[in-house]
C-alpha cells in the first residue's frame, strides 16, 4: 500500500514556502499593530482575530465537510469557561488551562460528533442547536462552579511562564499569531488528502466511501478540529476580557459565528480572515449607529437585528461571500484560472499494471439476495470475477443490476449470501473498508464527481487509499507528508493520462462534459490501484464516438490485468468487451456463459424479446 520511498524535490520547496509564509505573517502583524496605535483600534484588532478563529472553525466543519453545525458557540464557551475557571478557581497557569480546555472541547466533539453527524440537513442543525442549549443550561445550572448567570470575573491576562501578555499590543500579537497558525493549518488541510476527502463527503457520502474514505470518522475529525479552534478562540476571549458570562456562547452566538463565516465565504480560509475583520469593524459601526436609530438601550437587540438581516441579504445577494470578490477582480484582468495541457486524444500512458496474476479469482459472491420489503431485487445470485477478464451483467430495466453493484460494493447490505474479495470474506465490511482495505473500486450510473475540485484532485481521490496521512499529517508539514502528496499527485496524473484526460488536469471538474466525467471516474477507479472494478452502465448517455473510446479504454484496462464487472445496456459495448455474460431478469440469474451462447439461449432471447417459453419459470 505504501509508496516507493524516493526523494521528492517538492518537499523542500513546500517547507521553504511554509517558512516564508510564517515570516511574512509576523512582519505584517507587527506592522499592523504599530499602525493601529490607539487602544480602541487595538481592541478591535484583537476582537477581529477572535472572529477570524471562530470563522475558521466554521470553515472546516461547514465549509469543507459540509456539516451544518450550530454548536460552535458551545465549544467557544468550553474554551472560555475552561480557561476562566481553571485560572481563577484553581490557579492554573493560563497556557495549561487553555490546552486542557481545548483538549476537553476536542474530546467532547469527538465523542458527540460520530453519532450526531449521522444526521444531515435540518436535523443536524436542530441537533447541534440542542447541544448548544444544553451547554448553556449546564453553565447556568451549576452556578457554584461557573458563576451562573452572573459569570465569573477576575480572569488574569494570558501569560507563558513569566511573560505576561498584559498590554493591548501584546494581546494583538498573541491573537494574530494564533490566527496565523490556525490559518496556515486550515490552508494546508484544504489542499491535502483529508481536505479532498472532506470535499467528497460534502458532495456525496456514498461516493466518498467508494474510494475508501470513512465518512463518519472524517466528519467527526473535522468537527473535533473545529471545536479545538473555537475553544482556543474562547480562551483568548476570556483572558482579553477578564470575564466570562453565558450570553456570548448561546445559540444566537452560534448564528453570529456562522454570519462571520458566510460573510467571508464559507469554504474559504482567507475568506474567514476577510469576514472576521469585516465583522469586527461592522460591529463597531453597529454599536456606533444603532443607538441613533433605536435608542441607547437597544444596542443588543439592534445589533442582533442587523446581523440577522445581514445574513439574509448576503445569502440572497452574494452567497459566495466577500472572498469571491477576489475572483471577480482576477476575472477583470483577464486571467483565467485553468490552462489546458496538451491535447492527447490517444491515451499516452500505460495503465499501471494490476498486482494480481491473471486468472486469480478476485471477487466472488455466493447466493447473494437482497429484497426491499416484498420485492426481491436480487435472489440467489452467484458471481465470479477473475483478474484480467470482463464479466458483463445484463438484463432489462429493473433486473437488479444496480442493486447487485450496490450490494457488492457495500452501499447496500445483502439480505443473505456471502461476498469475498481475493478470498477474504467481506460480507460484514462497510463500503469504505471494501474499497480502502480490500481494493474494490466502482463507478456510478451518474458519475460522482466533486465539482468543486480540479480534475486532478478528483483523480487523486482515487489514490486516497494508497496514502496514510490523516488530519494531523495533513495540517502539520512533514517530509513524509510532502512525499506522499507528490506521489498521489503523480498517480493521479498518470491515471488521467491513461484515460486521455491528461490535458484537462487543471480544469474545474464542473467544466467537463458527461463523457469526460465518465472517463474521469474511470481514471479515479484506476488510480485506486484496485483489486476488482465494478462499472455501473459506463456507456449510458454517451455518443457513438465516446462509446468507441470507452471500449478502447476498457480493453486496455483489462489488458493491464484488472478484473472488471461491467453492468451495461448497450449490446455493442457488451459484445465488444465481455468475456462472459451474466443475465439477470427480475433479480434471478437466467444465463451465465460466453457471449456466443448468450445470443442463442432461448431464455435470454425470451427475456429481451418478451415471449415467455415454458421452461422459464419466473
Amino acid at each position: 500500500m505504501a509508496f516507493d520511498s524516493k526523494p521528492v524535490p517538492s518537499s523542500y520547496r513546500g517547507a521553504l514556502r511554509g517558512m516564508l509564509w510564517l515570516v511574512g505573517w509576523i512582519v505584517m502583524m507587527f506592522a499592523a499593530a504599530n499602525l493601529l496605535g490607539t487602544s480602541y483600534r487595538l481592541t478591535i484588532g484583537a476582537n477581529a482575530a477572535i472572529a477570524v478563529l471562530l470563522a475558521l472553525s466554521v470553515v472546516i466543519v461547514t465549509g469543507f465537510a459540509g456539516q451544518f453545525s450550530l454548536a460552535s458557540a458551545a465549544f467557544y464557551g468550553i474554551g472560555a469557561y475552561g480557561s476562566g475557571i481553571l485560572t481563577t478557581s484553581y490557579g492554573w497557569p493560563p497556557l495549561a488551562a487553555a490546552v486542557v480546555a481545548a483538549f476537553t472541547a476536542g474530546s467532547v466533539a469527538l465523542m458527540v460528533g460520530r453519532p450526531i453527524l449521522r444526521l444531515s440537513g435540518h436535523f443536524l442543525a436542530m441537533g447541534t442547536l440542542a447541544l448548544n442549549e444544553i451547554f448553556i443550561l449546564l453553565i447556568v445550572g451549576f452556578p457554584d462552579f461557573t458563576g451562573g448567570n452572573d459569570g465569573k470575573g477576575g480572569v488574569p491576562s494570558f501569560s507563558v511562564w513569566n511573560y505576561d501578555f498584559a498590554s493591548l499590543q501584546q494581546q494583538l500579537y498573541l491573537a494574530w499569531s494564533v490566527v496565523g497558525v490556525a490559518l496556515y493549518l486550515t490552508l494546508r488541510l484544504q489542499y491535502s488528502r483529508m481536505g479532498r476527502a472532506l470535499a467528497f463527503i460534502r458532495s456525496d457520502e456514498t461516493g466518498s466511501a467508494a474510494v475508501g474514505i470513512d465518512p463518519g470518522k472524517a466528519k467527526a475529525m473535522a468537527f473535533t478540529i473545529s471545536a479545538v479552534f473555537a475553544s482556543v478562540a474562547g480562551s483568548l476571549y476570556a483572558h482579553f476580557l477578564g470575564l466570562v458570562s453565558p450570553e456570548p456562547f448561546n445559540v444566537m452566538a452560534s448564528v453570529q459565528i456562522l454570519v462571520i463565516a458566510v460573510l467571508g465565504g464559507i469554504a474559504s480560509p482567507w475568506g474567514a480572515v476577510v469576514g472576521g475583520i469585516t465583522y469586527a469593524l461592522l460591529h463597531e459601526l453597529i454599536v456606533f449607529a444603532v443607538p441613533r436609530f433605536f435608542g441607547a438601550a437597544a444596542v443588543g437587540a439592534g445589533s442582533q437585528f442587523v446581523v440577522g438581516m445581514l445574513l439574509v441579504v448576503l445569502l440572497i445577494v452574494r452567497p459566495q461571500g466577500l472572498a469571491s470578490f477576489a475572483q471577480l477582480v482576477r476575472g477583470w484582468f483577464g486571467r483565467s484560472d485553468s490552462k489546458d495541457g496538451e491535447q492527447d486524444l490517444v491515451p499516452s500512458t500505460q495503465i499501471s499494471l494490476c498486482n494480481t496474476p491473471a486468472g486469480t479469482n478476485v471477487l466472488k459472491a455466493v447466493d447473494l439476495s437482497r429484497s426491499f420489503g416484498g420485492v426481491h431485487a436480487l435472489s440467489n445470485c452467484n458471481i465470479d470475477v477473475s483478474a484480467g477478464e470482463i464479466l458483463a451483467v445484463i438484463g432489462p430495466n429493473g433486473a437488479g443490476k444496480t442493486t447487485l453493484v450496490h450490494v457488492l460494493s457495500g452501499a447496500l447490505s445483502p439480505s443473505s449470501g456471502e461476498i469475498s474479495i481475493l478470498g477474504s470474506n467481506v460480507t460484514r465490511q462497510p463500503a469504505h473498508l471494501r474499497a480502502g482495505r480490500f481494493g474494490l473500486a466502482r463507478s456510478f450510473q451518474t458519475p460522482k464527481i466533486v465539482t468543486g475540485l480540479s480534475v486532478k484532485s478528483n483523480a487523486a481521490l482515487g489514490a486516497h487509499r494508497l496514502g496514510a496521512m490523516g488530519f494531523f499529517g495533513a495540517m502539520v508539514p512533514t517530509r513524509a507528508g510532502f512525499r506522499e502528496e507528490s506521489a498521489i499527485d503523480e498517480a493521479a496524473l498518470q491515471a488521467l493520462r491513461a484515460v486521455g484526460l491528461g490535458w484537462a488536469f487543471e480544469r474545474h471538474a464542473d467544466e467537463l462534459s458527461l463523457g469526460h466525467r465518465r472517463l474521469l471516474e474511470i481514471g479515479r477507479v484506476i488510480s485506486q490501484k484496485p483489486t476488482v472494478i465494478l462499472l455501473d452502465e459506463p456507456a449510458a448517455g454517451l455518443t457513438r464516438v465516446e462509446k468507441e473510446e470507452l471500449v478502447k479504454l476498457l480493453v486496455l484496462v483489462r489488458k493491464a490485468g484488472y478484473g472488471i464487472l461491467l453492468v451495461e445496456h448497450d449490446m455493442d459495448v457488451i459484445m465488444a468487451l465481455a468475456d462472459r455474460i451474466h443475465v439477470l431478469v427480475f433479480g434471478k440469474t437466467i444465463f451465465c456463459g460466453s457471449p456466443a451462447d448468450a445470443r442463442s439461449d432461448a431464455n435470454v432471447i425470451a427475456a429481451y424479446l418478451g415471449t415467455k417459453p415454458k421452461e422459464l419459470a419466473l
Binding site: G66, F68, L70, P115, I116, R118, L119, S120, G121, H122, F123, A125, M126, G127, L129, A130, L131, E133, I134, L137, L138, V140, G141, D204, E205, V251, M252, V255, L258, V259, V262, F294, A298, G300, A301, G302, Q304, F305, V307, G308, M309, L310, L311, V312, L315, I316, P319
Partner: protein, 290 residues
C-alpha cells in the same frame, strides 16, 4: 408518597402545554409537507401574534385573537417573500441559514418593540377554574384544547380528504414535476407558510393568559414543536399532536423526580435521542443532503 392533587395539577398543566407544542409541531408539519423546509423561527412567527394580542389590551378578546391571526399571517408572509422566495432555487442549507437569520431579525425587532420582560394576556373567559381532584383546570384551557382540535381536524381533513390537499403535497415531493402538472407551486408554499404562522400564532396567543410570554421564548418553543413533529413522523397530523401532548407530560412529570434546572436538559436530550433513532429523517423519507 406522591401527592395526588399535585400530580393532577402537573398533568393538567402539562397537557395544556403539550397541546401548544403539538400545535407548533403541526405548523412545522404544514410548512414541511408543502414547502419541504423546516421553518426554524416557527414559534417566533407565532409570538408576534401573541404580542400583538397583548398590545391590544383594551380591545375585546375576539379582536385580540383576530389581531394575533392577522399579525402572525402578515409577518409570515413577509418572511416568505423576503427570505424564502428570493432563495427558492438555493440549496436547503442556504434556505435554512437564511430562515435562521430572518428569525433573529424578527426576534430582535420584537425585543425593540416589547422589551425583554415577561408579559401576560387577560383570560378570554372570566370565571373560576374547574376543580378536578383538588387541582385547578383554568377555563382558558378550553380555548387551548379547542384550538388543538380545530388544527388537527382541519389539517387532517385538508391533507387527507381534499384534492387540493393532496395536490399541495406534490410540491414538497418534486417541485418541478408538481409545476408540470399545473400546481401553482409558489402560491401553495406561500399559503402553507402563512398557515403555519397562523397555527402557531393562535396556539401561543390562547396560551398567553396561562403563562407569561417573553421575546426569547420562541427558540425553546420552536425546539419543542420540532420534537413533536419529528416524534409524530414529520408528516402525520394526529400523531404529531399526540407527540406534543406526550412531550408536555414528559416535561411536566420530570419535575416530580428531577430538579427544575435539569428539566430543559432532559427535554433536549430527548430531542437528540429522537433524532438519532430517526437518522433517515422525517417520516422515513430519505434525508436531504446538503
Amino acid at each position: 408518597m406522591l401527592d395526588t392533587q399535585f400530580l393532577t395539577q402537573v398533568v393538567i398543566t402539562s397537557i395544556l402545554a403539550g397541546v401548544v407544542y403539538g400545535s407548533v409541531g403541526l405548523a412545522f408539519v404544514t410548512v414541511y409537507r408543502v414547502a419541504s423546509v423546516i421553518n426554524f423561527p416557527q414559534a417566533d412567527l407565532g409570538l408576534v401574534g401573541a404580542f400583538v394580542a397583548i398590545s391590544l389590551s383594551t380591545a375585546s378578546n375576539m379582536m385580540q385573537l383576530l389581531g394575533a391571526i392577522l399579525a402572525s399571517a402578515a409577518v409570515s408572509a413577509v418572511m416568505f417573500m423576503g427570505v424564502l422566495y428570493p432563495l427558492r432555487r438555493a440549496s436547503l442549507l442556504v434556505q435554512t441559514i437564511a430562515l435562521l437569520g430572518g428569525g433573529i431579525g424578527l426576534q430582535s425587532l420584537m425585543q425593540l418593540q416589547y422589551g425583554t420582560g415577561p408579559q401576560i394576556l387577560t383570560q378570554f373567559t372570566a370565571g373560576n377554574p374547574i376543580m378536578i381532584n383538588g387541582a385547578a383546570f383554568p377555563l382558558q384551557g378550553f380555548w387551548i384544547l379547542a384550538w388543538g382540535v380545530i388544527v388537527v381536524t382541519g389539517l387532517h381533513a385538508f391533507f387527507e380528504w381534499t384534492k387540493l390537499g393532496r395536490a399541495v403535497q406534490a410540491c414538497a415531493i418534486d417541485r418541478y414535476a408538481a409545476g408540470l402538472v399545473g400546481i401553482p407551486v409558489g402560491l401553495m408554499t406561500f399559503v402553507a407558510f402563512v398557515l403555519g404562522g397562523v397555527i402557531s400564532g393562535v396556539a401561543i396567543t390562547v396560551q398567553a393568559p396561562l403563562s407569561y410570554v417573553t421575546v426569547a421564548s420562541g427558540l425553546a418553543l420552536s425546539l419543542k414543536g420540532f420534537i413533536a413533529a419529528v416524534m409524530g413522523g414529520g408528516e402525520r397530523i394526529i400523531p404529531t399532536m399526540g407527540a406534543g401532548v406526550l412531550l408536555g407530560l414528559l416535561e411536566g412529570l420530570v419535575i416530580v423526580w428531577l430538579p427544575v434546572s435539569l428539566q430543559q436538559i432532559f427535554v433536549l436530550l430527548c430531542l437528540l435521542a429522537i433524532l438519532m433513532f430517526r437518522p433517515t429523517g422525517l417520516g422515513g423519507r430519505t434525508a436531504h443532503g446538503i
